[in-house]
């Protein structure tokens, strides 16, 4: 296995870099959209329920199927991958964000309302700081989930560590398969552990 890396470093590093790119880009876009949707959801319980239902439906559809359905519209490649990954993340992020914000010390929030703070002020100055652990947990879950699903994105020409797995499978190249598994599993486990440690300290 080490031999393989020494002989073809670019074959391992390349997919790894692509994978990281996918995860980062997806994360940034997902957070932007989720933040916007969360603000909407906090305004109205109905909107919140609607969004939760839509995205939980999306989340329960296998990623390969969603990729397949999107290709006729957005084609093969990274665009489709990022769109699908972002959609999956919305379920995790929205669920954790809205639950965390809603459950953040209701007594304190009511007191804030009583002394004359606006909803927006309460949200930014009270709820978000109090809910930071739940918010961070949502982000952690989204990142780890993205790392996992991004492996499948290789099948639609989006690159990533899945390439090592699929090509390794095709040619029965064990070192390749091992690199693919170890790197993708390792990235997921490591990120989860590190982010969890940070989360505990919050």
């Amino acid at each position: 296995m080490i031999e393989y890396l020494k002989r073809h470093p670019e074959k391992v590093i390349g997919p790894l870099t692509e994978h990281i790119w996918l995860v980062l880009v997806t994360l940034v876009i997902s957070l932007a959209i989720a933040s916007f949707l969360t603000v909407l959801a906090m305004r109205s319980e109905k909107v919140s329920d609607l969004l939760n239902n839509i995205f939980s439906l999306v989340y329960s559809v296998p990623s390969l199927a969603l990729f397949a359905l999107l290709i006729p519209i957005t084609g093969l490649g990274r665009t489709s991958a990022v769109i699908v990954l972002t959609l999956y993340n919305q379920y995790l992020l929205l669920r954790n964000f809205t639950t965390g914000l809603r459950e953040a010390d209701p007594v304190a929030c009511e007191a804030a309302k009583g002394i004359g703070m606006t909803d927006m002020q309460i949200l930014t100055r009270i709820r978000i700081p109090l809910a930071r652990k739940a918010i961070f947990a949502g982000i952690r879950l989204a990142i780890v989930s993205t790392v996992g699903i991004a492996t499948i994105a290789a099948s639609i020409n989006a690159g990533g560590l899945g390439i090592l797995l699929f090509e390794g499978l095709r040619t029965m190249n064990i070192p390749k398969i091992l690199w693919g598994s170890v790197l993708s599993a390792g990235m997921a486990v490591l990120l989860n552990a590190v982010l969890k440690m940070v989360e505990e300290k919050m």
Binding site: S63, A68, G148, I177, S181, S184, A188, V189
Partner: protein
Amino acid sequence: MVQKIAEYIATHPQQLAEQIAAHIGISLFALFVAALIGIPCGCLAAKLQKGEAVITAPFEMLRVVPSLAVLILLIPIMGTGVPPAVTALMILAVPPVLLNTIVGFRTIPDFMIESARGIGMTESELFWRVKIPCALPMILAGLRTALVEVVASTTLAAKIGAGGLGEIIFTGLGLYRMDLLVLGGGLVAILSLASGWVFDILTRRMLRYKYV
């Protein structure tokens, strides 16, 4: 495109039926075994006073590992086909069931147990008639998560020769045929939504006391 899809269905009814059956069969079997392993083990683990973290930590870690990695990793060991697929699915499905079972038993209020003992239930009666019903909502939630995981991973397992609807999608990717992609993707989506829906209905029946 709709025409092409209709054509395909008309010309491959047998194959489609087999693939749907295989997909459902593999998923159900894996879920069943995961329940058989996860629930008793979770129940036992919940009884341990200490050392719970030692048991839950590896399963928490397993939950995080990409399913594709688990599937393909088994090939060098078990070859291709249904056995490695089902094994991988079991590995992926047990964690949510086990972890939820542990939480389910752990969150039974002490006074509920005291009440049952106090009115004269034996330990066995307490377990079957009070503890299990109280833990059931969480156990069912764990199975629900496992179900989604299993249906999704079965889709991928087509790549390692296990059959199922994933075959249509992979064929579509290989031959660059949009109609197959939409058909395969659509069927898998329908299957996962339908199985979730059926499970939710069963859950509501089992927990109907909550919805009165």
